[in-house]
């Protein structure tokens, strides 16, 4: 059995170290440096938000929508309020500024999501009422005893169905089932003339790609503990990945000056993008203010899987104009991001997807429409390279399928089409610092994949050999 401690090889930087020549080694790159938080982790002394246990801690549990899409006809709190040790039940009327969207901080609008549902629910699991109780069990029982009467509305779960004439309207704040980008119905790229390219191409290939939503599934679920302070401020212990973003959004929802809130955080038991939306803190803050005692609101595992926002499902159509030798002369992409019922970070994710097209290839004619679509599914949001990752799955699958269809080496196909320094990209940016050619050459070498001499001599800095 052989194994090694990682990383071990720091010799690469010996010369730099020697060249520093001061007698003191200030070079960090290439040396193993202990993580500053590791000692806390291995001794169990790292403080995660749920390790905080203030006296008189109350617990918040949510009553959630049992429908994908419905009007709320009636909410009956009578039985829930009668549960012993239930302190208070919050509805939308208790939230100072109930309507929000987290990216309003960077000018994204309109506000399209209620903190607690008002007259309608738009996805299964949407929060309606928050029960605050002295014990977790009482909060759970209170939440279970709330009676909501629904008038069902037709739901829509498919991005293309949602964009059809006559589809059920998911989100009235937008007025249509898509996000509008500066007056346009989607994020668009127009570069050259793809139709002309299809007309003169030797081959036209069109395929469809579909991904599912992906839950980040951190081992520590989303949550916070809010502690009212003697000076009137609220101290928020949270596992958010975005402390200041959370503070600012929470202040806007509470209609309170930013300096009334203090976030204690930065220790996140796994996030992966799933702890960026500001969902638990605002309602827990209102609960702590109204109950005048510390409140904990933490998702159980089922809530984490059901209602925390996943990576968006995407549907992507790619149509390529390809010559016999493998050169791609036109690429048309129609991409749909399933935002679910509310914006969250998906308008931004859709822009990222558009920015990533047509992949790292020099294609002279590009047309893309990238739609951010509202459906009655769980709101999607950030997750590790959102927008980009699924686009890459589609683009690189497309490259492999073209190679197979034309019986070409998939690496040579990519080397032929890879962008080089100086190429004008579809977004009217000149490519610089490109390295795809060299990366593919190295991969081929490491995998023992034979490339002909002309391909081995290709470079990102010239168009030689093309």
């Amino acid at each position: 059995m052989t194994y090694r401690l990682a990383p071990i090889d720091t010799s690469t930087f010996t010369a730099e170290r020697a060249a520093a020549g001061t007698g003191t080694d200030h070079t960090v790159i290439g040396s193993a440096v202990q993580r500053s938080d590791a000692r806390g982790h291995v001794t169990g002394r790292t403080e995660f938000f749920e390790d905080v246990a203030p006296p008189r801690l109350a617990h918040l549990k949510m009553h959630r929508s049992a429908r994908h899409h419905a009007r709320i006809a009636d909410v009956d709190l009578t039985e829930a309020l009668a549960v012993p040790r239930v302190l208070r039940i919050l509805t939308h009327a208790d939230i100072p500024n109930n309507l929000f969207t987290p990216l309003k901080l960077i000018g994204v609008g309109p506000d399209d999501e209620p903190v607690l549902a008002v007259d309608k629910v738009r996805y299964l699991g949407e929060p309606i009422c928050a029960v605050v109780a002295e014990t977790e069990a009482a909060a759970l029982e209170g939440a279970a005893r709330i009676k909501v009467t629904y008038e069902d509305l037709p739901p829509v779960f498919d991005v293309e169905e949602a964009l059809k004439e006559g589809a059920p309207l998911v989100n009235e704040y937008h007025g249509q089932n898509h996000f509008r980008y500066e007056g346009h119905h989607c994020r668009r790229i127009r570069f050259g003339d793809v139709e002309e390219a299809f007309a003169r191409a030797d081959h036209v290939f069109e395929w469809r790609y579909q991904s599912a939503p992906i839950e980040q599934a951190p081992v520590e679920t989303t949550g916070c503990v809010v502690v009212p302070q003697a000076d009137g401020r609220l101290r928020i212990h949270s596992d958010t990945q975005a402390c200041f973003f959370t503070l600012d959004n929470t202040a806007l929802i509470l209609e309170t000056p930013f300096n009334k809130l203090r976030i204690v955080g930065g220790t996140v038991g796994g996030g992966f993008g799933g702890k960026v939306d500001v969902v638990v803190e605002p309602v827990a803050c209102v609960a702590a203010m109204l109950a005048d005692r510390p409140v904990k609101f933490v998702y159980d595992r089922a809530e984490e899987m059901q209602v925390s926002s996943p990576r968006a499902a995407e549907r992507i159509y790619i149509k390529d104009a390809v010559m016999n030798d493998g050169r791609i002369i036109g690429r048309k992409v129609t991409l749909y991001v399933d935002a679910g019922a509310y914006s969250r970070h998906s308008p931004y994710g859709t822009t990222k997807a558009a920015a990533h097209l047509p992949g790292p290839y020099a294609i002279p004619n590009v047309w893309a429409d990238c739609h951010c679509v509202f459906t009655n599914r769980t709101p999607s949001s950030a997750m590790r390279g959102f927008g980009v990752t699924i686009a890459d799955f589609a683009l690189e699958s497309q490259m492999d399928r073209i190679a197979r269809a034309l019986d070409l080496d998939p690496l040579r196909l990519r080397l032929l089409n890879a962008y080089r320094d100086g190429d004008l990209k579809a977004h009217r940016k000149v490519a610089e610092g490109t390295a795809l050619v060299e990366v593919i050459q190295k991969v081929a070498e490491m995998a023992g994949h034979e490339l002909p001499e002309t391909y081995r001599r290709m470079s990102s800095t010239t168009r030689e050999g093309l």
Binding site: V42, V219, V268, G269
Partner: protein, 166 residues
């Protein structure tokens, strides 16, 4: 059903506390005894981050009703570093970069302690088997396996006679 007084030996110390009916070992450690190293990840025995040792055996403490282990010996991560000195498993986790977010670490170290107690020279497969009930969503499994093997090696070097006598 009334609450009852439960007595446990935790990290070598006799501890008594009042447990509500149905209280789990995890909740008792965290809320009654203030020992928060063991975490709640799923509360359904699926993620392993709440693992502690009960009479030396790793158990997911979120599924153990505390009155069923009354009088038994419980070991948590707080009891691993004697006098503030990291033990071999802890120091190997630091040196091998086997921690990332840190939320699975307590459970990982406790299953590693149990493994090395009964098998001082585990194979790679033994380690993988030992941590198979523990989820690391940062997906740092490989460094964790390497760290546990390194800890075993350090422990064998440090106390060869003791190991030989087991």
């Amino acid at each position: 059903m009334p609450s009852q007084i439960v007595s446990l030996v935790v990290n070598g110390e006799q501890r008594e506390f009042i447990a509500a009916p149905g209280a789990t070992l995890l909740a008792s450690l965290r809320e009654s005894l203030g020992l928060t190293a063991a975490k709640r990840g799923c509360a359904q025995g699926a993620c392993g981050t709440c693992t502690v040792l009960v009479d030396g055996r790793p158990e997911v403490s979120c599924l153990v009703a505390v009155e069923t282990v009354a009088g038994r010996s419980i070991r948590t991560l707080e009891g691993v570093a004697a006098g503030g000195e990291l033990d071999e498993v802890q120091s190997a986790f630091v040196d091998c970069f086997a921690t990332q977010c840190g939320f699975c670490t307590a459970g990982m170290i406790m299953v590693a302690e149990a493994l090395l107690d009964r098998n001082p020279d585990p194979s790679d497969e033994d380690v993988v088997e030992a941590i198979s009930g523990n989820v690391c969503r940062c997906t740092g499994y490989r460094p964790i396996v390497i760290a546990i093997l390194e800890a075993a090696r350090r422990r064998r070097e440090q106390a060869p006679q003791e190991v030989a006598s087991r």
